[in-house]
Amino acid sequence: MKSDRERVVITGVGLTAPNGNSLSEFRSNLLNGVSGVVPYSVRYFGETIAGLCNFEATRYQKRKELRVGTRAGSISIYCVNEAIADAGLQLDEDYARNRVGVFIGITEHGNVETENEIYELSKYDYQTKYWSHYHNPRTVANNPAGEVTLNLSLTGPHFTLGAACAAGNLGIVTGVQQVLLGEVDVAFAGGVSESPQTFGIFAAFASQTALASHEDSAKASRPFDMARNGIVVSEGGAIVVLERLDKAKARGAKIYGEIAGWCYNSDASDMVLPNPERQAECMKEAIQRAEMTPRDIDLINTHATGTPMGDVRECQAIAAVFDQACDHTFVNNTKSFIGHCMGAAGALELVGNLPSFDDGIVHPTINVDELDPRCELPGLVLNQPREAGKINAILNNSFGMMGINCVLIVKRFDA
């Protein structure tokens, strides 16, 4: 039996998603089938679709900070400030600022800034004396987390986790580890993405024949559906406040859930094609570390992005771990509403499901008009929310390019 000092809980959530700028708004839209995917035009590439956020950046940043900083930094700052407010945390009073850590998962960072700066430079015939002196601080890999420490005068550690589209989960896992190691007393952890702000990711997915298209943008992200044709590129962010249980109890914090277990591993088989065997191993190991069996998992939030092959392979992995006896294990997908928020995906998709502990409802996977038989998992919740009764444990899958997998399990906390 672990002591309260060895247990880490989620006590605050801050987010911005293409369909919501707070957990309540996001959750409401997930339960009401509201997509955040819209038509979008991006330089060089042209007309496409994307998931874009409309949070109020000036709520926490001055206009000059917005001018010199990055979109990823701005998303991070918004999410951290919202998470602090949600947690009812009083910095200095509850935690000294040098005991606060910021750990943010990113799929990539610097592409957006560099492309925009090269575009500006093109107006000056590519003479490098016109290159921005902000290029380096904008493009260092720790920029999004560093901007948070500058915004909030936090003097504990900060860094980002480069883990492709498994980064959101890995950001949270790293925050948990840092708290358990005693490196920090509280962690602001999760993931962010600014990917839609430049053409590269759209053009690359298009070249890979993996970019989603649909005449109705809201129907473009359709994991598990026979007509799925790729990924919707989205931006977003989700940050959670992670504290030791004893400290959370001492300050009377609201507790969303307890971190139960996790695992991260590598496919070591292909740059882009996922490996269901390694994914299954990752899920099994996470369940074992959580001291659970597959039957203890009530909800699996899938990573599935809407690519023909990726969705099938994840379903194969899930089927290998969760047998027919897991008849009360529900399966859903959040990308069908918001597209693929890249570095934010794992964290955003996890927090969107945390309210299930309270309301007992599983949000659905939308846009499934004809289920691909290869994706037919027993507990798949299609198109309409499902009253699931008591949810005790959520398993959240996040997988990324270069074959990185991260599985995170959060369990109900009953005071």
Partner: protein, 81 residues
């Protein structure tokens, strides 16, 4: 450009660089350092380069301490434009 036009152009530049400051209260001999950080000051130098093609060598940065000193520095270079 007249001295007044240069002054107005500089106000436009610093307002873009730091839009959170109230530049209307800036007096001509007040130090700009109170409203501009070091990276902002490099922005001023960059904007002068972009708008007027004028290179301000690092040795001359000290001559851009106030609005009046900026105008004094730029007037000989811009008066014929």
């Amino acid at each position: 450009m007249t001295r007044e036009e240069i002054f107005d152009a500089l106000i436009e530049i610093v307002t873009e660089i730091n839009p959170d400051e109230d530049w209307s209260t800036l007096t001509p001999d007040e130090s700009l350092r109170g409203k501009l950080e070091s990276m902002d000051f490099l922005d001023v130098v960059m904007e002068i380069r972009k708008r007027y093609g004028i290179e301000v060598p690092e040795a001359d940065y000290g001559k851009l301490g106030t609005m009046n000193s900026c105008v004094d520095y730029l007037f000989p270079k811009l008066s014929e434009r």
